[in-house]
């Protein structure tokens, strides 16, 4: 079909615009970095601090992102309520941890004092995610794409404000674990113990998940369902059960991530799930949605970018208090990825074809 002149003109304008957008972002990054490094405002130790913080933060994003990625891989839907599932886990852990701390159990036994709240959080999140799937998503399977998405937005708000109703709008202070205060010297650099523990816990859990998905029967079934639901059903796989299992596993990881997040930021509130939720989705897209190693890589990349970015790119441009724009960096990355490389770093191309 031959395009008319005006159509070609519009096409050209769109392309020029998109290229301008790319060039602008790249220019901001390069110029900002150049000036920041020339000014030498931060020492190399500070940069390492930023990176370590980024890794621990990023590993939390990665854990949440896994839930998005697995559900998207199977159902082709964004589980908008996933960030709030993360929040419910954090609340479960908060009440357990407070109780254990009051009983003096955490001081006596710091390892179990960390593990038990994590297990409780995983249980709470799993329970709620399974309920949400059963009530708000399952009846809508096969409906037009917008319908389950809107239902998921509804579920997200329902969870947030139900928890606000239960526990009030205030922020709860997560009890600190004494054994995790202070720093460890690693290669001569002091690194906060909490961050090391967070990153290590996250890696252990992600490794477990990877093992489950790749080497167990249920993982095989999950992969089969995500390839093709109908064929999987013909092969004797109970698709509904696998979908619930996927939600449950994703939610368990999100719940554990909630505890780690609460450990780092020391607070829990009903709205805490929103921003990490969107960022974890960014991480999932960044790594290639539907791709499990991709979500892990995406989470780490996003975490480090977000932690280093404001100081590295923005302060060089003379922007004061650049840390306020930390979230804006994450959102810009999200938009950039969706526009220019929707298949992500490691993933297949989904956003335009399958979606």
């Amino acid at each position: 079909m031959r395009a008319t002149f005006s159509e070609r003109l519009v096409d050209l304008a769109v392309n020029i615009f998109l290229w301008g957008f790319r060039i602008l972002i790249v220019a901001i990054i390069i110029i900002g970095t150049f000036f920041t490094i020339r000014e030498g405002k931060y020492t190399s130790e500070q940069w390492i601090d930023f990176i370590v913080f980024g890794i621990s933060q990023g590993s939390i994003y990665a854990m949440i992102a896994l839930g998005y990625t697995m559900v998207y891989g199977i159902l082709r839907m964004i589980n908008f309520a996933h960030g709030d599932i993360f929040m419910t886990g954090a609340f479960g852990a908060y009440f357990t941890a407070t109780w254990l701390t009051k009983a003096g159990f955490v001081d006596a036994n710091p390892f179990l004092g960390l593990l038990i709240p994590i297990l409780v959080a995983m249980a709470v999140s799993t329970l709620i995610a399974v309920l949400v799937e059963r009530i708000a998503y399952r009846p809508l399977r096969g409906a037009p794409q917008l319908v389950p998405l809107i239902s998921a937005i509804g579920a997200s708000f329902f969870l947030e404000y139900a928890f606000r109703g239960f526990f009030g709008p205030g922020k709860y202070a997560y009890p600190p674990i004494k054994a995790l205060e202070g720093t460890w010297e690693i290669f001569g650099i002091g690194i906060l113990k909490v961050q090391v523990v967070v990153a290590i816990s996250a890696f252990i859990m992600m490794a477990l998940l990877y093992f489950v998905v790749m080497y167990t029967k249920i993982g095989k079934a999950m992969r089969a369902v995500s390839e093709n639901k109908d064929t999987a059903a013909l092969m004797g796989i109970d698709v509904n059960r696998i979908i619930v299992t996927t939600f449950a596993i994703g939610a368990a990881l999100a719940g554990a991530a909630g505890v780690l997040f609460a450990l780092v930021y020391r607070q829990v509130d009903f709205f805490m799930g929103f921003t990490p939720g969107v960022k974890a989705f960014t991480a999932a897209v960044l790594g290639g949605i539907g791709n499990i190693p991709g979500a892990m890589v995406g989470g780490l990349v996003l975490g480090v970018f977000e932690s280093v970015g404001p100081s590295l790119f923005l302060e060089g441009l003379g922007i004061t208090r650049a840390y306020q724009l930390k979230d804006a960096i994450a959102y810009t990355m999200l938009v950039m990825i969706l526009l220019f490389r929707p298949q992500g770093i490691l993933g297949e191309r989904l956003s335009k074809q399958k979606a």
């Binding site: 708000a136 937005i153 579920a155 329902f158 404000y161 239960f166 009030g168 724009l325 938009v335 979606a355």
Partner: protein, 583 residues
């Protein structure tokens, strides 16, 4: 197929009802609603909500029993209802017992002594048997309802709805009526109490509604038929009459109701404007934009910066000049944000636009751009519009004369100053935009949008220019939202980045979903229901977003086409029932 025992099914239903009752107690709804009477001295709204779970359990259990036993069998139905009501109440009783043993308040802030007192009728644990008996009775009432013939069910249901409606709005009716003078005042005081309906008022509304409902179900067809038989001239004059009545009510309302209700109506109108805008992108073209608040923000900030006398005002031009500029700037932003996401589809689009919305809010509120947009302090001192249209448009930095009053710092007494004045501005804009939206839908462009919504690839193959059509959807949607933002900025007189939350976008999506995507009357209905109710009722506003979330899920499950669907959507979602008459 083996069918479940009806008693077991009733037990399950009762437990679900009980779980909902506990949920409502623990989020504090029962206690907060308890402050409002449905009928004074008989039942409060809080008790009513609790009773509704038990009655609902009984009703559902009885329905299931009829289904399981292939027909209505009164004895079994009533047994099932009683059982469901009992279990429903038993869970609440368990909650009360648990609360008496341990301190639940350490976890659930609403598990307060006041709640227990309310649930046990102030008798402590001794009140629990009474609670259970009430549960059983409620269950039986619910079951009885299913056994009644339709002709009895409907008037009762209408009376109940009327009762709730009147009880919720009693405060507002009361104030309005008392403002009207002596005669009205005595009437108001006999019908409405301080917190709800009086017993007399309750009976009036119940019996009145039943009478009207019965009359309508018997004679309604005849009335409709005689309307249809009326000559076309008569029909036309009837329509004009109805229109005139509505117009008079709309024009006179702020004078009668006072500034509070006028302000609520302005906010509803603003949401109607935004709803109509998103209706173009989401309802017509099927593009879910979760960053819609960005355009609202652009409109608000443009007017703010162009007319403010505060520290960030760039110009002090007339509102009437600033508005078209704001709309144009919003349109430019619509194009600017629409261009990159042209190729992005479905849920990816939702997330990308959400990102845009958040970026705009973060930038507007950051210290980095505080020199231009005021940062967290916002833009203040925005001028109210005035009707001095004939004065020279732009007078920089000099005090303007507006309707004979010099405006600069404090003068705010001219015609369009208060909410009562902005009211007319908002109403007229909403009507105008509704008309534009309606004409757009019927246009070639409107049909192209709907073609894209149905299937992008097919639409393209049929010669719809995707880029142009989608861009126009973003641009026009942004224009409507920008106009809403412009009016918002003069209503409030100041703008803060923190009021441009994602929640605003969600509000708009929710009202669109409730009213029916793609339907213009639906937008109005949705805005009145979702924005008006929480603004008017303090009790409801406490649970606003909880209700929104529930509404979104329930609408998607039960009625995805919305309360007032457009013909096309209705046909699409109910292929088999397309023969039914509609709006």
């Amino acid at each position: 197929m083996k069918k479940e025992n009806f008693l077991l099914s009733a037990t399950k239903t009762g437990l679900v009802g009980g779980a909902i009752a506990i949920f409502l107690c623990l989020i504090g709804m029962v206690e907060i609603f308890n402050k409002r009477d449905v009928i004074q001295g008989i039942v409060t709204l809080g008790q009513f909500v609790w009773l509704a779970t038990a009655v609902g359990a009984g009703y559902t259990a009885s329905q299931q029993t009829s289904h399981l036993l292939n027909g209505k069998k009164p004895a079994q139905n009533l047994t099932a209802g009683a059982l469901a009501g009992f279990f429903s109440a038993a869970l609440t009783a368990f909650l009360v017992w648990l609360g008496s043993q341990t301190d639940l308040r350490a976890i659930f802030i609403n598990a307060s002594p006041a709640l227990y007192e309310l649930l046990t009728f102030g008798k402590g644990l001794a009140g629990l048997p009474q609670l259970l008996i009430i549960g059983i009775i409620s269950g039986i009432v619910g079951a009885t309802f299913t056994l009644l013939p339709k002709a009895v069910q409907r008037p009762l249901l209408h009376a109940l709805m009327m009762l709730i409606f009147m009880a919720l709005f009693s405060g507002i009716f009361r104030v309005v009526m008392i403002n009207q003078g002596n005669k009205w005042e005595t009437l108001a005081k006999s019908i409405f109490s301080q917190t709800g309906l009086t017993q007399l008022g309750g009976w009036i509304f119940i019996l009145g509604t039943i009478a009207i409902s019965v009359f309508w179900s018997n004679r309604g067809e005849a009335v409709k038929a005689s309307m249809a038989r009326m000559p076309s001239k008569g029909k036309l004059s009837l329509r004009i009459l109805v229109f005139l009545i509505i117009a008079v009510i709309a024009l006179g309302l702020p004078q009668v109701s006072g500034p509070f209700i006028a302000q609520v109506i302005v906010i509803i109108s603003l949401y109607i404007l935004m709803g109509l805008g998103l209706n173009i992108t989401l309802g017509f073209a099927g593009l879910l934009d979760l960053g819609f608040v960005a355009f609202f923000a652009v409109g608000a900030y443009t007017v703010g910066l162009l007319t403010s006398y505060g520290p960030f005002g760039l110009q002090h031009i007339s509102f009437w000049v600033a508005v078209p500029i704001a709309v144009l700037v919003s349109m430019a932003f619509g194009a600017f944000l629409g261009l990159p996401v042209l190729g992005v589809r479905g849920d990816y689009l939702a997330i990308a636009t959400l990102g845009f919305g958040e970026i705009i809010r973060l930038l507007a509120g950051s210290d980095f751009l505080a020199g231009y947009f005021g940062g967290p302090q916002g833009v203040i001192g925005i001028q109210k519009p005035c009707l001095g249209v004939l004065e020279p448009f732009i007078k920089l930095d000099t005090p303007r004369i507006c309707d004979g009053i010099e405006i600069g710092q404090g003068a705010a007494d001219h015609f369009l100053a208060g909410p009562g004045g902005i009211y007319y501005l908002a109403i007229i804009s909403a009507l105008l935009i509704a008309f534009v939206a309606w004409r757009l839908r019927e246009s070639r462009l409107g049909r192209a949008w709907m073609a894209i919504r149905e299937d992008e690839d097919v639409a393209e193959a049929l010669g719809v220019n995707l880029i142009q059509t989608k861009l126009l959807a973003y641009i026009l949607g942004a224009a409507f939202a920008g106009l809403g933002g412009a009016i918002f900025s003069v209503l409030i007189g100041s703008i803060f980045a923190s009021s441009m939350q994602l929640l605003v976008s969600i509000n708009v999506v929710a009202l669109l979903v409730v009213g029916g995507m793609g339907s213009i009357p639906g937008v109005i209905v949705g805005a009145i229901a979702l924005i008006g109710l929480p603004e008017l009722l303090r009790e409801v506003s406490e649970f606003r977003y909880l209700i929104y979330g529930t509404v979104l899920i329930v609408m998607m499950l039960a009625k995805p086409e919305g309360l007032w669907p457009s013909q096309a959507t209705k046909r699409e979602l109910h292929h088999e029932t397309s023969a039914q008459g509609g709006d």
